[in-house]
Amino acid sequence: YGVTLPGWKKNNLTYRIVNYTPDLSKEDVDKAIQKAFKVWSTVTPLIFTRIQEGIADIMVAFGTKAHGHCPRYFDGPLGVLAHAFPPGSGFGGDVHFDEDEDWTMGSDGFNLFLVAAHEVGHALGLSHSNDQRALMFPNYAYISPSEFPLSPDDISGIQSIYGSATKTPGKRPTVPTSPNTCGPQISFDAVTTLRREVIFLKGRHLWRVYPDNSEVELELISAFWPFLPSGIQAAYENMKDQILFFKGNNFWVVSGYKVLLGYPKNINTLGFPKGVKKIDAAVCNKNTGKTDFFVGDKYWRYDESTQSMEKGYPRRTVNDFPGISQRIDAVFQHKGLFYFFHGSRQLKFDPTAKRVISEIKSNSWFNC
């Protein structure tokens, strides 16, 4: 990525749509532009407010060839589609679209949302990236609007200027401190496998552990899955090479970097009764194709093939998992065994023999 510093000196920014294109309805233009701003507010503390009159920080307009007093000209159909100016006064932050292009909401012509998201990146201080997967790559490339358009490169770039999203809007984030992986009290919010890796989640961070070669990488969750909130409470890998993440009564289904369309959904769509407000931990037993969801001192069993909760649940955890008597933080399966996490302790459990094999420290996977 590239940045044009210093970026905006505030997190609350205004934008105004000065005029429209005849290619689309006003509603579609409004929606595309709003969605373009939302892409960046999802991964930063920035807040965008639309105004209808006067001078906004970011003025959005359509024009052709020499347009207004803009120092850059457009060139007719194709070629240059749009441009924008880095943060600042006057033209600073403004976004211009070439009206000689065919603006659409889909994959034909040029998708206004995608081009707008790129140009807003410039208006916030990003310059072009030479990473071909990045939204800030100079050339237009269509991607399905259901996919989140930012790549890790884009997110690293914008967060190098503004930091990542914070819970208290408008407050400039402190630099995220990395958790003390090898501290004696380390605990985890959730753990899941991801193909040959094991992913440990805590707060806004995740560790990628490769058990086969004992490598460990610490990352921000937002660098991989920017649509996920921090503080994920449970996660598991199903039988279809997807990961399900849970927080409160919401869950997301993720395939690779992408979240599936229509998520987050409410956990009661999986068959949980209304009274269940959150999931503590979850693990799919790859030998049986059944997923166990742990809530307090009970658990539910879900059949991944029929996509339905099994009858006769919930059951008390300790009855079927002798030795697992406390509420658990996280659980995952590795080489047939279950690893249950409770605070800084981890219980290695054999689901066939139905017994705890050993108790180890939660961070035993990190070569501390």
């Binding site: 590239g2 044009t4 850059r72 457009f74 194709l78 070629g79 240059v80 589609l81 749009a82 441009h83 924008a84 880095p86 070439d98 292009e101 040029f110 081009v115 790129h118 140009e119 410039h122 310059s127 072009h128 030479n130 071909q132 100079p138 050339n139 237009y140």
Partner: protein
């Protein structure tokens, strides 16, 4: 084949204009003319072409080869790739 080739000189002219327009739009850094001694235009163009080819991960030849011309014809953003 004995068919008259397209107008190579016309194509060449168009390609030359395409390259010059592209490089002047996206690879021209506003520098203080006193700092930069006068450079032969061709050398200057080759230098900027190499910069563009490097940015897009193309073979760095300094010449407007087919791959480079193809990249220059793709619809894109009007913001320069260098020197903001």
């Amino acid at each position: 084949s004995n068919s008259l080739p397209a107008h190579p000189e016309k194509d060449n002219k168009e390609d030359t204009k395409l390259v010059e327009d592209y490089l002047s739009k996206f690879y021209t850094i506003e520098t203080d003319s006193n700092q930069r001694g006068w450079k032969a235009n061709a050398e200057f163009t080759a230098e900027k072409l190499q910069k563009m080819q490097r940015f897009f991960g193309l073979k760095v030849t300094g010449k407007p080869d087919t791959e480079t011309l193809e990249m220059m014809k793709k619809p894109r953003c009007g913001v320069p790739d260098v020197g903001l």
